[in-house]
């Protein structure tokens, strides 16, 4: 494998920025944001340079490594702090630094009134560095460092506006749920170390051919737990909605484009484990399928624009996880959807930020409406992202999502049909709720109060949105030309099995998907564009009466056939989300706290009762030793 000495700069640049901004303190208030943006862009530049270098080498030599130093050496166990840049990580590097830089630029303007803007940029740079470490580490242990690092940066950023207690609670909740996932990762690392004797990707890959299936399954399941925590997948999904408390650029960068996709990265990176452990792989698929439906249904019920987008993110990552769980056939598509999603979802979040910027931080979509007229650029960029996410050809989402749906259908047997139909249904619901967002925000009637003065965002904010919108339009097309991305990733994720039985031809799937999208859009348009929306006084203009009546009929029909059960299910899921999962988290915390308080009572303060503990302890010790001696 080719070694390099320049990989470290990818990480060093943003890390340096974070250090400077934090250490220099208020002195760097004036120029801190510029430095941070420049360093992030510099890192992107290094990434581009690495890509060009990589392209110039033959396929077999594209992956390069850099050993930084020998990190741990306990007995025979050696872990180097080393970096690995291959075809998979370069995709992430460019996504992270590219989108990251755009969001830096956007934040310069978005955060310009915040007195702690410098600190915000320091955290952003810290996040970029940690995320790069996550995708560049050459072993699970190095990945773990980045994994914890992005966690830390994410808590700092979610809790950035910590004036409100709810925000601190949100970051705490995110912490607890992520902690469960982190435990999964640390278990996976330790099991891997104990059974395979190594934790580097190359070592585990080599050992996975000989290792027992049980051990690999255990590692796989633990990795999946880790992925569900970080990527907000069922059943650890609840934190993502609350994480929207953070500033909107953070939501765009961390909770849409990069950090939450780390779980997908982890699974694709560990393809050799999942390929050898079908049980774990099946679990991955199930988690993906459940989450994509779950997120989509939750998305239909949210009125908060950011929470609706967050639910959508959850659902889209469900697609990716589903793709990653389909084995070599799906890894590349999972990554492709991840990349396209990075563009359109980040763009939409920035759009949402722009809307909030124009609407005095109002987040309730029921208080929007007709913003198209006031924010044409935001409307355009958001609209392009919208077309991409619902999968209208030739926008990016069409290519990537259809590929996953198609692969799901062709997974074979009942499993394939089930997964395919779920994915298809998910696509319809996606179309519905995204149209709802679009309509409520931009095209329906004005529902905001008189003191709102919607206005377009400044240049620095809309340029990143525009660039991301261009990405939403073009990337899908680019990635699929001549199966470019699939071929690109093949050395990492393995060859697709050719010649399997094909259930549905690509054209059929595309057709079905389009029908699903059209149904979803139609329902949403009829209900929200043409129908009444709460908090708006009904306007009894006679010309529209008939149409309104017709709508009413359709509504009744919808309600009876689709909406009622749907609403009930949605309500149930949302309730489950809030009460059960939330309750579980709170329950765990409360139990720990309660147990702690109860046990604390043993600390009576009386030296004599402490002596009694010692006496009883001695008895237990004697008895325990005696029992085994017998």
């Amino acid at each position: 494998m080719v070694t390099s000495t320049s990989l470290v700069y990818l990480i060093a640049l943003p890390l340096f920025g974070a250090a400077i901004l934090l250490l220099a303190g208020r002195r760097s208030d004036k120029w801190g944001h510029l430095l941070a943006t420049a360093l992030s862009a510099g890192s992107f530049g290094v990434g581009l340079y690495q890509l060009s270098q990589m392209l110039s080498r033959p396929t077999a030599e594209r992956a390069i490594t850099q050993k930084l130093f020998s990190w741990i050496a306990v007995g025979t166990f050696k872990v180097d702090a080393g970096l690995l840049l291959d075809q998979l990580s370069i995709c992430f590097v460019l996504l992270i630094t590219g989108v990251g830089t755009l969001i830096h630029i956007y934040s310069i303007s978005y955060m310009s009134h915040d007195e702690n803007r410098r600190r915000f940029f320091a955290y952003l740079n810290l996040f970029i560095a940690a995320m790069l470490l996550l995708v560049l580490g050459n072993s699970y242990l190095n990945l773990y460092v980045g994994w914890e690092g992005v966690g830390l940066a994410s808590y700092l950023l979610i809790g950035f506006w910590n004036q409100k207690p709810a925000y601190a609670t949100a970051s705490k909740k995110a912490f607890v749920m992520n902690r469960v996932g982190d435990m999964g990762l640390s278990f996976a690392i330790m099991i891997s170390f104990a059974t395979l004797g190594t934790v580097s990707f190359a070592g585990v890959q080599a050992a996975s051919h000989t290792a027992s299936k049980a051990a690999l399954t255990a590692i796989g399941i633990m990795l999946l737990v880790a992925a569900t925590g970080k990527s907000a997948q069922f059943p650890l999904q609840a934190w993502l909605g609350d994480a929207m408390a953070g500033p909107t650029p953070v939501s765009a960068l961390i909770h849409a484009a990069t950090m939450v996709t780390a779980g997908v990265y982890l699974i694709v990176r560990s393809n050799f484990i999942f390929d050898a452990a079908p049980t774990a792989q099946l679990l991955v698929v199930i988690v993906g399928a459940i989450t994509l439906m779950f997120g989509a249904l939750v998305g239909t019920a949210k009125d908060d624009i950011k929470k609706a987008l967050a639910a959508s993110t959850m659902s889209q990552i469900g697609y990716m996880i589903l793709g990653a769980g389909l084995g070599p056939a799906g890894y590349a598509f999972a990554i492709m959807h991840l990349l396209t999603h990075g563009f359109f979802k980040a763009g939409m979040f920035l759009g949402a930020g722009s809307v909030m910027h124009g609407m005095n931080d109002q987040v309730d979509m029921r208080r929007y409406g007709a913003l198209r007229k006031f924010m044409p650029i935001t409307f355009a960029t958001f609209g392009l992202g919208y077309l991409a996410i619902i999968g209208v050809p030739p926008f990016a989402g069409f290519y990537s999502k259809d590929a996953i749906i198609e692969t799901a259908f062709n997974a074979g047997g009942v499993k394939g049909i089930l997964l395919g139909s779920t994915a298809l249904l998910g696509a319809a619901i996606t179309a519905f709720y995204m149209t709802r967002v679009m309509v409520l925000t931009f095209t329906s009637k004005e529902r905001w109060e008189d003191d709102q003065h919607p206005h377009e965002s400044p240049l620095l904010m809309w340029i990143p949105m525009a660039i991301l919108a261009i990405g939403s339009v073009t990337t899908g097309f680019l990635f699929t030309r001549g199966h470019a991305l699939v071929h690109w990733l093949t050395p990492v994720v393995g060859e697709r099995a050719e010649g399997g039985k094909v259930l549905l031809q690509p054209a059929v799937v595309s057709g079905l998907a389009l029908v699903a999208v059209i149904i979803g859009v139609a329902i949403a348009v009829s209900k929200y564009q043409l129908g009444k929306v709460d908090s708006v006084a009904p306007q009894n203009v006679s010309v529209f009466t008939r149409i309104a009546r017709k709508d009413l009929m359709q509504d009744s029909f919808n309600e009876a056939v689709f909406m009622k059960p749907g609403q009930a299910l949605t309500a149930l899921l949302v309730k489950g989300d809030d009460k059960v999962i939330d309750g579980a988290v709170r329950g765990i915390a409360a139990t720990a706290l309660g147990t702690g308080s109860t046990l604390r009572r043993t600390q009576t303060g009386f030296a004599r009762s402490y002596a009694a503990f010692i006496l009883i302890g001695a008895i237990v010790l004697i008895a325990a030793i005696w029992v085994v001696t017998q």
Binding site: G75, G605, T629
Partner: protein
């Protein structure tokens, strides 16, 4: 009657003797030097003797001997590592102890009396803490090297008695401090009675009080093992008391809270190293062949200790008590290294002890700085918003907490990882699971404090951070740097430990 004169290898005993010499010099200074010059000369003598002892130790670090003191101590690689860790921690702690604000001016004065007020006004100080610290350090240096039960017992008392005394010398809240001393003393004496009873049974079992003699009896014993099990159980009570393992832990929160903070830091860090050094030696050398007898009991205690410490720490409202419970949890983690009973376990334990000790001294050093007009503020609620007022101090504290939690890029992560791996390798899956679970629980309360410091508004009751004195600043800076370096680039230390971590018999 023939009598052969004993031979002592003074080069190998030099570290202990130098520290004891420094202590005696300190006593003489107390007796003869004028009061005004005592503090500075004591500080100088203390630091100098510790540094000289460390260099004397490093000079002989490659030597190995079982007969350095007629078989009473064993000088080997692991012993050198323990002694070096203790000396480094002691030097850093002395810098904290040098801050006058920690200690009462006149211990004999009744709290609240005129005499106390006068003594505070006249700027008196208890300079006796320096020789006491040195005596304790000498006992700690001896403890992990002892290879017979008498020396072990004498060393145990030698490190304990000064600590009992120093626990009662706090400047503020003296009633609490004296109470801590009383509790520590009574329970310590109680547990050392158990220890001695164990010594008696081990002697009865093997007819010898040297570790090698006991080991030989276990291998070739002809009777049954009842006296052995009694001996192991009772000795373990004494040793586990010192490290604060459940259910012998109850003293530690109270004593940690009541004692002067600098002493708490010293005690928490250095005593753990010394006591675990002794535990490791006795279990690895004397009891290794009776492994199947004591291991299940120790696994039980280890798991209970780590879970108990982590869970109870959550509900603590006092920073010193929280650190006490955290140290209980860490005792449980460290017992995993004893259970491993392998070279990897020994190496991991030594690394963990050093890393934990350093971070502990640093954390308590920061606790001494957070004050209001009435002295240190240990109520966690009043630490809220500290990050806004003193970002550097709060960040350093947060960093130590992350190290305790075992977050990557801190020394704690490497320590936890290697110790749990060693335990798992030796077949203790339960310890691994309990360990990872309880470190996840533990992370909760560490992060809670971080959230409190950075994400809450400052309390409006005048809690402020003192501008640290030069020495305290040095300690905090050095401990932070070591904690960071050991997390990022621990390989040199790990290699050094690997090359010299062994016990000879």
């Amino acid at each position: 009657m023939d009598f052969t004169a004993p031979v002592l290898n003074y080069a190998l005993l030099a570290p202990i003797l130098i520290v004891l010499g420094g202590a005696l010099l300190g006593v003489l200074i107390e007796a003869f030097a004028p009061r005004a010059s005592r503090h500075n000369s004591q500080l100088f003598v203390t630091v100098a003797s510790l540094v000289i002892a460390l260099s004397a130790l490093l000079r002989v670090r490659k030597q190995v001997s079982v007969s350095a003191a007629m078989g009473s101590i064993t000088f080997d690689g692991a012993g050198v590592l323990f002694q070096a860790s203790i000396l480094v921690i002691a030097i850093l702690s002395v810098f904290l102890i040098a801050d006058q604000e920690n200690f009462t001016a006149l211990p004999a004065a009744v709290p609240g009396s005129d005499e106390e007020r006068h003594s505070l006004q006249t700027d008196m100080r208890v300079t006796e803490v320096y020789p006491l610290t040195l005596f304790a350090v000498a006992g700690m240096l001896l403890f992990p090297l002892s290879s017979d039960l008498i020396t072990l017992f004498v060393a145990l008392e030698m490190l304990s008695l000064p600590l009992y005394l120093m626990a009662g010398l706090s400047r503020r809240r003296r009633l609490l401090s004296q109470e801590a001393a009383l509790k520590y003393f009574l329970l310590g004496a109680f547990s050392s009675a158990f220890f001695l009873f164990g010594v008696a049974y081990l002697y009865g079992y093997s007819g010898s009080i040297t570790f090698s003699g006991i080991q030989a009896s276990i291998v070739g014993g002809s009777g049954n093992d009842v006296f052995l099990l009694l001996g192991i159980a009772f000795i373990s009570v004494g040793l586990l008391f010192k490290v604060g393992a459940v259910p012998f832990h109850a003293w530690s929160p109270d004593v940690y809270q009541g004692a002067p903070t600098a002493i708490t830091g010293f005690m928490a860090a250095a005593t753990k190293v010394a006591a675990f050094g002794a535990i490791l030696r006795i279990f690895y050398v004397a009891f290794a062949n009776a492994e199947w007898q004591w291991r299940p009991a120790l696994i039980l205690i280890s798991i209970v200790t780590m879970v108990f410490g982590s869970v109870v720490a959550i509900s603590q409202r006092d920073v010193k008590r929280m650190l006490a419970y955290s140290s209980i949890a860490h005792a449980g983690f460290l017992l995993a290294g004893v259970i491993a009973l392998s070279k990897a376990g020994l190496e991991a334990s030594i690394f963990y002890l050093f890393a934990y000790g350093i971070a502990t001294v640093g954390a308590f050093g920061i606790v001494t700085l957070v004050r209001d007009s009435a002295g240190e503020v240990t109520d966690l609620n009043r630490w809220s918003g500290l990050g806004k007022r003193s970002p550097v101090i709060a960040s350093a504290f947060a960093f130590f907490l992350l190290a305790f939690a075992g977050i990557p890029l801190t020394s704690g992560f490497i320590g936890k990882f290697s110790i749990f791996s060693a335990a798992y390798e030796s077949g203790s899956t339960a310890v691994l699971i309990a360990g990872v679970l309880s470190s996840a629980i533990a992370a909760f309360f560490y992060i809670r404090v971080i959230v409190l410091m950075f994400f809450k508004d400052p309390a409006e009751d005048g809690t402020s951070v003192l501008i640290p004195s030069g020495l305290t600043k040095t300690t905090i800076a050095i401990t932070s740097v070591i904690t960071l370096v050991l997390g990022v680039y621990p390989a040199p230390l790990i290699n050094f430990i690997a090359s010299s971590a062994f016990f000879i018999r």
